[in-house]
Assembly symmetry: C2
Homo-oligomer: 421 residues x 2
């Protein structure tokens, strides 16, 4: 079967004035690529009279055109008019659609909202249980046209409800095989270099692509095409090169990895944070149900806080400083003892931009690990880049080190071989 | 002067397969809109032989075309070839560019990187101090063409260094006047409704646009055109309607607001968090220099943690529960006393999705406020929506309440009139 091409058009002047970033393009292209479609382009367009020409261009170039946004009740929302022109038809007021909108939103009855019941003639209405504006589906010059509302929850709901099932059934494409891995602590350029070296011996893979998920503190690596065993061998080689704890098969966050380990073993966890300021606790509690494993985190930013809440010694702070093996170990022991957790991790470092020295440059972070049944350990890392990056990397490292520590504190030595950057 | 139109093209199959979200389009369009340019569209395109046609389309439609990405050293990076074709010229190897690249990156000397010294004939090289691939500038059919490297740091640096100064000088456009406000806790649809009502009486404003900045826990509101006094009156009316603490002039985060208040008054702050899990501490410490005001946060997720670290009474927990006025007040007092801070705030609530009840539904959050020189107070809020949204709103609320509390605990009563949702 030949390629089925898609053009995605997101409408809104707030997009082309850079006030918000389009998220629909990524969502739709990711979902459609996974279903075997070929996305030819994604466009963000302002609400103005140039829309018709762009819609026509999309129809000329693709088998499926998806238009999102501009279906609101205000005069700025001109998508439906442009689509009617594209179809060479008028807009008709659909009494049934208007009744449905009023049924769901009895408070609405203005003329503005009545516009949302205007549908281009010949188009099929797509019911919108997520908001007021229905979508619609049509065909122009043999191209399938989907017009969906722009608010993110409505767009996603409508895509799952109407778009994906329809195009899957209509085109019946074979899905492209994919293996996904989650990469931690490794910088993009280092990962790219490693992948290029491995790819040179693995010519069968159709594509190796990655996306940095800053908010999730990881990189997603996607291998497409070829045989599954080749894709897995690729990931295996990458894990050998970079450290197997940093390269995980599947779509996983570090917090999910730590939680499933704690759950499996029936253990509770507590933390003591300094330079991360609470990011570790915040990330761990982003998962529902985290109260079963996570007791708390003592965010001891000031030295006085470290002394009073965690019992870190005055002598430790004056002799070694807060960013030291000794302080990290006392912080971990302090929160372990006071909280009664089974295992605890501490983080103390210099996130920058100021506060560094020759011996302890910005990016120096000490991690302490303590467990009810284990020795107390500490490990030092040097992360580069910005304050934000040091804090994110320290948060991920704390979770990975805790997981490893549960196999015994000797196991921590492997982090000495990690190829992070 | 007539409108100067811009088309922005971001190149990379990782964009059209939905693996990463384009950020260049937003950055460039926001900066260029502020400089008076009119962005006609933003496109994300795959690295394939369709590029030339898209580039030609951009040249036909706009006065300025900006192309980003696809200048890397690998065979996938075909932007430079497509641009050479567009110019109707060949690529020439520029010895001077190659020397410059080798100077900066002595470890590079492969043939792959030599490709980065190939420049379309007739184009001006744009030096790239941020990475290996230089950019270039040319002119095609009277359209100005900028080709810039794709890595975000390089793109931003090159835009500031080459693109913005050049187009500012070349077109000398009048800047569009703008007033910006930062909106807290108010939902998009509620804000839209309020703005629409106010705009009905303020027809002189050219545009009212907003962008939700989820990561910064706020909405940015932009008023463009008209007279400044009209824009400020609009914001004043909005503040009166919604609560003046929730509508602030300027580009501000809640953490900046709290810190500047603490700094002005020379006060230190500590927190006790439950449902936010450390998000408040993490947000406050995202600002460099925060150690001058922020002592720490006791993230007491488990009740045992609340008892042991904050001294919350067993009786309080058993009689009123952890999500109660009494617990919030004891948490705030506990962290105030132990940390020695001047002012403290506590957060305890039900973020969901489970754990709610009829009396305390998901979204119920209590805040406690305590100060060295003030009474202990508590306020309850009910936030809707998801776990993530409850946590983000609780974090912002804690910062705003602390600021207000510094004017006396009576001042907190005004939050009863906030129009948040």
């Amino acid at each position: 079967m030949s390629e089925i091409s898609v053009v995605i058009l997101s409408i809104g002047t707030e997009l082309t004035e850079g006030i918000i970033r389009d998220s629909h393009g990524q969502f739709l292209s990711s979902e459609l690529t996974a279903r075997g479609f070929s996305v030819r382009r994604i466009e963000q367009l302002p609400d103005n009279d140039g829309l018709l020409a762009r819609f026509q261009d999309g129809v000329n170039d693709a088998d499926v055109v998806i238009i999102t946004g501009g279906l609101g009740p205000t005069a700025d929302d001109i998508t439906r008019d442009a689509v009617a022109n594209l179809c060479g038809k008028g807009l008709e007021f659909r009494e049934d659609v208007w009744e449905m909108i009023k049924d769901r939103f009895p408070r609405l009855c203005g003329n503005a909202n009545q516009r949302q019941a205007m549908i281009p003639e010949g188009c099929d209405v797509l019911d919108n249980p997520f908001g007021t504006a229905p979508g619609f589906r049509g065909e122009v010059d043999g191209t399938l046209l989907f017009v969906l509302p722009g608010p993110p929850k409505e767009l996603r709901g409508m895509a799952e409800l109407h778009l994906f099932p329809f195009v899957e059934h209509h085109f019946a494409l074979p899905v492209r095989e994919l293996s996904e891995a989650s990469i931690f602590l490794i910088g993009e350029s280092r990962l790219e270099e490693a992948c290029r070296e491995i790819a040179a011996d693995n010519a069968d893979l159709e594509s190796v692509l990655w996306g940095t998920r800053v908010q999730e503190r990881r990189i997603s690596l996607y291998l497409r095409g070829g045989r599954e065993e080749d894709r897995l061998r690729f990931l295996d080689l990458l894990a050998k090169k970079m450290g197997k704890e940093l390269v995980r098969l599947g779509d996983l966050n570090a917090e999910q990895i730590l939680f499933s380990t704690l759950k499996e073993r029936g253990l509770t966890f507590a933390a003591a944070e300094s330079c991360t300021g609470g990011m570790l606790g915040s990330v761990l509690t982003s998962l529902p149900g985290s109260s079963a494993y996570f007791l708390g985190s003592c965010v001891s930013y000031a030295d006085s806080f470290k002394r009073r809440f965690l019992g870190v010694g005055e002598a430790t702070l004056s002799q070694y400083g807060a960013v030291s093996r000794e302080c990290a170990m006392e912080m971990a022991l302090g929160v372990l003892d006071a909280s009664g957790a089974d295992v605890a991790c501490s983080i103390t470092g210099i996130a920058g931009p100021s506060g560094g020295s020759v011996e302890k440059p910005v990016g120096t972070v000490w991690f302490g690990l303590a467990g009810k049944d284990g020795a107390v350990s500490a490990r030092q890392f040097r992360f580069g880049f910005s304050r934000d990056s040091v804090r994110r990397r320290a948060t991920v490292t704390a979770m990975l080190l805790t997981e490893i520590y549960l196999d015994g504190d000797d196991a921590l030595d492997m982090c000495g071989f990690w190829q992070y950057s």
